[in-house]
């Protein structure tokens, strides 16, 4: 029976090529616009570490008080040195790391090569196991390296390629800001998007990953300046990097791993107690106002998904909706034009269900054709987002099998939904009336 409906549908579509083309084009464009913007949205709103994101938490401490809070009462979105060090000392989470963004120069060993600038982070050794950072060679550094301010470094595979030709450089030295560091680990490909461990400073997305990681305290000791944002509620009283460390300026990102709800609760209590202690000591003159968000909540709170991306997706979905309304109208016209034919079929004994099957098949074919066109246009759309979107974001949008399947599925399902009402109307055609008037 299906093949018969298929044949009927094709014949009907061929009879009015203009109308058919119009529907296919509308569906194709509507689906392609939605899928192109969806591919971008999907890329920027994805969970960068899905297997662990609910166990990673970002604590916030209100060291500025009521005057420094945002309009909705949020404390600063980064930490000052005093609080970050206190939290690291107390070490209440399973794993944790304070971190700050650095941008040191690296001098290639080869003579005649100019120094290069790399971006990176100063972190604690627990950073690597906490975030499941993949290593190609070697590993991260130990807790004693952290406390001893060891001159060690973890470098990216890319930098390893540039400096050491891709061979294992573990144990070799690399010259960073004029000082020699021993390479203890080389990362495999690792450039999570968004750069979730420090979205405040990276803005979330960046085509270039971090190339170098140094122990936090080593970097502090080397006076390696903070390359990220520094926000102050008052000008530091002392000069220099030390002055920054003694100030209430916030410039440090912090992440903690808490593997159960109970652990999260007890950490929340700990943050509260810490703030209360600071209040009692007279450093904070306000009640505790800390926050502890897990990674998905944090990314949402920091508006990592650009609002342009969301608005584009919404507008594109609006376009799809209009295309569907358009299709409903055109299918209605098309189906009702064949009232006579429907009358004959019904008079010859066809059930309403058979009419439904016949016309929904036709709608499905329009949807499929629209979907195929939509596939081509989506491909073109995703390929050309690089022209219109910021590079860091455009690079993330990809065509993959799931996107292709989704495109076809959306096109067919949407068109069949659009065909429901016209089909309903077609199935209501009174056979006697049609036969009489003909």
């Amino acid at each position: 029976m299906f093949s018969y409906y298929l044949e009927l549908a094709l014949r009907s579509l061929r009879r009015s090529p203009g109308l058919t083309a119009l529907m296919v084009l509308a569906i194709g464009f509507g689906v392609a616009a939605s899928m192109t913007t969806w591919s971008v949205f999907r890329a920027v709103s994805g969970d960068p570490i899905p297997w662990k994101s609910s166990q990673l938490f970002v604590p916030q401490i209100d060291n500025w008080g009521p005057n420094g809070r945002s309009d909705d009462g949020e404390p600063p979105n980064a930490m000052g040195y005093t609080d970050a060090m206190a939290l690291m000392r107390d070490h209440r989470a399973k794993r944790q790391s304070a971190m700050y963004q650095i941008s040191p120069s690296v001098v290639p060993a080869e003579a005649g090569k100019h120094p290069l600038n790399v971006s990176g982070h100063a972190v604690y050794g627990e950073f690597f196991p906490m975030l499941d950072v993949p290593f190609k060679y070697g590993s991260g550094w130990s807790a004693s390296d952290d406390t001893n301010r060891a001159m060690v470094a973890v470098i990216s595979g890319k930098l390893n390629q540039k400096l050491f030709g891709g061979a294992s450089s573990v144990g070799k030295t690399v010259n960073i800001e004029g000082k020699d560091y021993r390479v203890v680990g080389v990362l495999d490909d690792w450039n999570p998007q968004p750069r979730f461990y420090d979205v405040v400073n990276t803005g979330g997305f960046s085509t270039n990953g971090d190339d170098v990681f140094l122990p936090f305290l080593t970097a502090i000791q080397a006076s390696m300046p903070n390359d990220g944002n520094t926000n102050c509620n008052a000008v530091p009283e002392e000069s220099g990097f030390v002055g920054l460390q003694h100030s209430e300026c916030v410039w440090i990102a912090y992440m903690a791993e808490l593997d159960s709800a109970a652990a999260a609760t007890s950490y929340r209590n700990y943050l509260n107690d810490y703030a209360r202690e600071q209040q009692q000591a007279g450093r904070f003159r306000w009640a505790p106002n800390g926050r502890l968000r897990n990674l998905p909540e944090w990314l949402d709170n920091q508006h990592v998904v650009p609002s342009d991306t969301k608005v584009s997706l919404l507008v594109a979905l609006g376009l799809l909706l209009v295309c569907l309304v358009n299709t409903v109208g055109l299918l209605l016209a098309k189906f009702l034009r064949r009232s006579g034919e429907i009358g004959v079929r019904r008079a010859l004994g066809a059930q309403r269900a058979a009419i439904y099957a016949q016309f929904l098949t036709e709608a499905g074919i329009v949807g499929l054709a629209g979907g195929v066109l939509g596939l081509l246009l989506t491909g073109a759309g995703v390929a050309s987002v690089g022209w219109v979107l910021p590079r860091d974001i455009a690079a993330l949008a990809r065509v993959d099998v799931s996107l292709l399947l989704l495109t076809l599925l959306v096109a067919v399902v949407a068109t069949m939904l659009a065909g429901l009402y016209p089909t309903f109307r077609a199935s209501r055609v009174q056979p006697a009336w049609q036969l009489k008037s003909n």
Binding site: V311, V315, G329
Partner: protein, 418 residues
């Protein structure tokens, strides 16, 4: 022409009528808001920075193994290195002038603070005005191409230097006209005193420039986009930025000469592809997202309008076919061609009229929703009205061809069997 028969006929085509009206309403709602977004982005991109942007480029560089900027001794060494660079760049044949500067408009790397009438004001307090600082020297005006409208420019004697993170008093400053108007609405800012960043030491305003945008191009800087403060100080750190004005038409040559010159002064530094860039690149990068959003919205609007127009053509054509015989009867009863044409045109105007009324409500609703969820301002009525007229015009344009075809139905059709 009486409306009654049209309304009676429409009642027979409820579904089709509702669908066209709905489509017009949705299209109007989306297009109004999308065009409003485009308009906003274009306004943003067209803001002038206050710079003479042609022939201007920026050099950002970093020294390797530089002295520590936190020690007095290190600051002096760094300053000497910076002065050496400046002297070398200023001697280049294609270079007109060079100024050290911590940032440029649209560079999105800013040092912001606040200025106040009172000493010791709390940062972020109510009586403070936010500002972005440019730390530079006496060649700033000629290099940036900013126009001095009152007072005097910096001279070499004014210029101090300090470590990047050092705290130091700022005896004099040049501010923008907009900031001057905010602080001293009477227009007598020159010679007056202000206090920066909650300091107790006064800063005397010695000059006013017509316009100079802050480095932040994003919307968080909208509130103080023109409130720049220029301080005659070279900042000393392990990196430095130099704004360079090339001689007219010599931009490329001047840019090419930079890297070899600086490497010759001191090879222990980082200069990469991004280190020497013309201001046009900085501008393009800052507004890339805005331009992209405008293009995307434009493409979607275009598709939307085409789909809607095509839908109207399709459905009206169907109706014309369906009413073939009735049209023939009307013609046979004496209706002129123009009457038939008008019939379909008025019918479309009625449907579109209902559609745009709903559409205006939807457009305003969508705008309100966007305002509550995203950075969006109230849509001006002019956009909505233009949208309404455009939708009605598109409806009329789309209906014309099928209506013409209808008017060409010969009266003889009436005599034939259906």
């Amino acid at each position: 022409m009486k409306l009654h028969p049209i309304l009676a006929a429409l009642r027979k085509h409820k579904a089709g009528t509702v669908l066209i009206a709905l489509q017009i309403a949705l299209t109007l709602a989306i297009v109004c808001n999308a065009v409003f977004i485009i308009g906003q982005r274009i306004d943003r991109v067209n803001r002038t920075t206050g710079l003479d942007e042609s022939d201007l480029f920026l050099v950002s560089q970093q020294w390797v193994g530089a002295p520590n900027a936190d020690s007095a001794d290190g600051v002096e060494k760094l300053d000497a290195m910076q002065r050496e660079d400046l002297a070398a760049l200023r001697q280049l044949p294609d270079v007109a002038s060079v100024a050290p500067i911590n940032s440029l408009p649209l560079l999105n790397s800013s040092w912001t603070g606040s200025v106040s009438h009172k000493p010791g004001a709390q940062l972020g307090g109510k009586d403070n005005t936010r500002t972005a600082y440019y730390f530079t020297d006496e060649q700033m005006l000629s290099t940036l191409g900013a126009r001095l409208v009152a007072g005097r420019a910096f001279n070499a004697g004014d210029v101090q230097h300090q470590g990047f993170r050092d705290r130091r008093d700022r005896p004099i400053a040049i501010i923008t006209q907009q900031l001057a108007d905010k602080l001293f609405p009477k227009g007598d800012a020159v010679g007056k005193v202000m206090y920066t960043d909650g300091s107790n030491a006064p800063t005397t305003i010695i000059g006013v420039v017509a316009r100079l945008q802050i480095p932040a191009s994003g919307s968080w800087g909208n509130d103080f986009a023109w409130y720049s403060t220029l301080i005659p100080t070279r900042l000393d750190a392990n990196f430095a930025r130099y704004a360079v004005r090339a001689k007219p038409g010599r931009l490329d040559a001047a840019m090419r000469a930079v890297a070899p010159t600086l490497y010759k002064v001191n090879p222990m530094r980082v200069l990469d592809d991004d280190s020497v860039k013309p201001f046009s690149d900085i501008r393009a990068r800052a507004y890339r997202a805005d331009v992209g959003m405008a293009i995307l919205m434009g493409v979607i609007c275009l598709i939307l309008l085409c789909v809607t127009a095509a839908g109207i053509v399709g459905l009206t054509s169907f109706w014309v076919g369906q009413r073939h015989r009735q049209i023939g009867v009307r013609r046979a009863l004496g209706a002129r061609k123009i009457d038939i044409l008008h019939y379909f045109q008025i019918e479309n105007l009625l449907i579109a009229g209902v559609g745009v009324v709903i559409g205006v409500l939807l457009a305003l609703g969508l705008n309100l929703w966007l305002m509550s969820h995203y950075e969006m301002t109230r849509i001006p009525l002019s956009y909505v009205l233009t949208g309404v007229l455009a939708m009605l015009a598109i409806g009329q344009a789309a209906v014309f061809a099928p209506a013409r075809r209808a008017s060409n139905v010969p009266p003889v059709v009436a005599t034939r069997a259906a």
